[in-house]
Amino acid sequence: MSPTLIQQLPDLVIGAEPPTDAEQSPSVQALRSRFGESVRAVRMDPVATPVVTIEPARIHEVLSFLKTDSTQGYDLLLDVMGADPGGDLVIQVWYQLWSMEHGRMLRLVALLPRSELSIPSAVDLYRAADWLEREVYDMYGVHFEGHPDLRRILMPENYDEGFPLRKDFPLRGRFTRSEQVRRALNRSTEDVYAREELALAGMLEAETSAAAADAPVGSEAKDYLAGEKMVINMGPQHPATHGVLRLVLQLDGETVVRCIPHIGYLHTGFEKTCEYREWNQVIPYTDRMDYLSPMLYNIGYALAVESLLGVEITPRCRVVRVILSELNRILGHLLWLGTGAMDIGATTVFLYTFQERERIYNLHESYCGGRITTSVTRIGGMLADLPVGWLEACREHVNGLPATLDEAEELLTRNSIWQSRMIDVGVIDAETALNLGLTGPNLRGSGLAYDVRKARPYLGYDEYDFDVPVGAVGDTYDRYLVRLEEMRQSVRIIQQALDRVPDGPINVQDPAVVLPDKSEAMSSIDAMISHFKLVMEGLQVPAGDVWYSIESTKGELGFGLIADGGPKPVRCRFRGPSFVNLAALPHMVEGGLVSDVIACNASIDIVLGEIDR
């Protein structure tokens, strides 16, 4: 291979179709005509989402227009994320919107100069923005004006090393390790507990009396006949919080008056760490986020990077990824079923579902060697082709699965204890669910049939015949039924996919993306050069950005990626669905009984690895 050919290699990957013109999008036209100069720039991202850069001061007006105008109807705020492209210039804030009615995606971008990191808050329009904006504040120090409770969310409240995701923040923190340990262990009560809770518990004398004086006569604070409220702390080490979640509950007898979730006890800094890794090296981090259904994260991340690269994966790879996705959907739902039932007191189901999970783990193991941390995908394909006999083993397993589900269902669905613990508990109606940004089975339990596999089909999901189950009331029981039915639908998809696994290569035949065969690398000079370049220089992803999402077990799993043409991502955002879903917990439990907190928390199906990232 001549040196000129080496230089041509990267061109192979930029063969994507020219994107359709963003100006033709009806939303962009409406924004242009209404907001004129405030629309700074318009472009299209690789998955054909119009990206509109808006003057930061008018972002609230624009969001309000997009939400309320009947021709737009962007009623689901999927993501608010920050990004620091480096160079000490600006910090970007992205708003990712979805219109349920028109089936359109739109991204608003605000560029904030570092001297003035301030932007109007969108919490009064979308309650989903509450935690998302707090996270941007925590990680970038962007001040959201009008946010009711702008505190750090993932880092400790008294964290004073800075804003971790900014480019000038060192990966290992500003202080030495011993200083970090010392500070962590020396926190005073005021630092561990939020001021709000201390006020609730009456530990901040001055503030409580001041609040009581301000309260109008007849309100709660002046109502001396009302019983004394009690504050209890649940977690972060608690068997029913599914990880290190901490809930502060204010109780009036058995009734929950307030519920304040605290997260961040498992904040792993994946997003920061991934900025220091090459594109393919990020994959092992992805399956440690949602360790209940790891392959969905692998596959979603690979698809997102492939969309940036403009690479079309092979037909065999598409079908294999569908099989693995659905297998992992079952895996995730089985864990939810087992632990959820155990939380409510039915221990037997846990043993049934774990038996089934072990069988799926065996399939994982025979494919990639790992049980939980699978890292099966590579950008442009999979780590290897399926081993001989794997498809047959998978078919055998999947055919036997409905029987186990029937067994579990027999134990639960018509069980009177189960029903009385779940029916009409934690009700969330469709409108509230949408406003809170719920996705996945939680949103579908409230009766909205929004599934990314149907709304924006990826991996050829539109070629499969499956139904999207929805609930009627939006209570805990509906969410349970939806997930059970989803497992059966996943079985249907896998059975269809197994019948149509095409022959052919599993990886794209592109030397700039995928490593050549080992045997070839040792015998052919072309293969050796591309092997050398890929290993030494890393996969080069052309400059650009994308927000790509798939349907994970918990809801809409989004990947916000920014590339600068180099071997490492500039920004690697993971929009974990549980993060937004968990913010809905107070709305479910407030006014209910304290024992229902457990049932509600179980029904959201959270995984802390993804919430805290």
């Binding site: 880092m155 400790p156 090393e161 971790p164 923040f169 060192p170 990966l171 290992r172 923190g173 030495t176 390790r177 011993s178 200083e179 970090q180 340990v181 010392r182 500070r183 962590a184 262990l185 926190r187 561990v192 972060p236 080490q237 608690h238 068997p239 990880g243 290190v244 961040g264 006890y265 498992l266 904040h267 792993t268 800094g269 994946f270 920061k272 760490t273 092992p284 981090y285 440690r288 360790y291 209940l292 864990l335 632990t339 846990f350 043993l351 774990f354 038996q355 999970r357 072990e358 783990y361 049980r371 939980i372 941390t373 802390l608 690895g609």
Partner: protein, 233 residues
């Protein structure tokens, strides 16, 4: 913080003292045998599961691996009724004071398994938020490698704890080394934390400093701490 507390007579092995405690007699060895037998076959784990390893810990409790075969199936979610802490998963600086408090709440005798790479050394995550090995916070008896370890590995770690309990004696004061003054404080001094928290520090230091003897099941975590300090000099 300095609480005056009546302590058992201590000896300094470095100064050449021979660790014997009370005279070992026929009676004490027989009592030891019975006590250790019952202790090691009815361990009540305190599962501090945070991340992926917790799922494998749950799998160990499932029917396929069945931790009940080793008498440790009674997971105690209250630290006050537990004697074996299994730290499964990443521990952040935000979680560190909670980990230390839960450990302090557990009554003696108590043991600790650090399950998985993250808990043992920070693993693949070396950044601003993850504690680079929980032995900086609490003493650890057995490190189980893996990311995550298979349930078999955890069971093997449990067997190593059982092996360790076998070698303990009621007459040995070192078995209850942690006094009231260690409550809420890091397990290692700052210099040692800096040493083990270097990139790859924990995994390489564990081998080099603790050596063959230190990595055996019956050595005390205290040995390692002292060796770290010696190395520092």
């Amino acid at each position: 913080m300095a609480v005056e507390r009546k302590r058992l007579p201590t000896v300094d092995p470095a100064a050449g003292d021979v660790v014997t405690g009370a005279p070992v007699s026929w009676l004490t060895t027989k009592v030891d045998a019975v006590v250790n037998w019952s202790r090691r076959n009815s361990l009540w784990p305190m599962p501090l599961g945070t991340a992926c390893c917790a799922i494998e810990m749950m799998a160990s409790a499932g029917s396929k691996f069945d931790i009940a075969r080793f008498g440790a199936e009674r997971f105690s979610f209250s630290p006050r009724q537990a004697d074996l802490m299994i730290v499964a998963g990443r521990v952040t600086y935000k979680m560190a004071p909670i980990l230390r408090r839960i450990w302090d709440q557990m009554p003696q005798p108590k043991w600790c398994i650090s399950m998985g790479a993250c808990a043992s050394s920070g693993g693949m995550i070396d950044n601003y938020t993850i504690v680079q090995g929980i032995d900086q916070i609490i003493p650890v008896d057995v490190y189980v490698p893996g990311c995550p370890p298979r349930p078999e590995s955890l069971l093997y770690g449990l067997m190593m704890i059982q092996e360790k309990i076998k070698g303990e004696s009621l007459t040995n004061p070192f078995h209850r080394e942690e006094g009231a003054d260690s409550v809420g404080r890091p397990n290692l001094p700052p210099e040692a934390i800096e040493l083990v928290a270097q990139p790859f520090g924990n995994s390489t230091r564990q081998n080099r400093i603790s050596g063959v003897e230190g990595s055996s099941a019956i050595s005390r975590p205290r040995d390692r701490r002292e060796r770290l300090l010696e190395h520092q000099d």
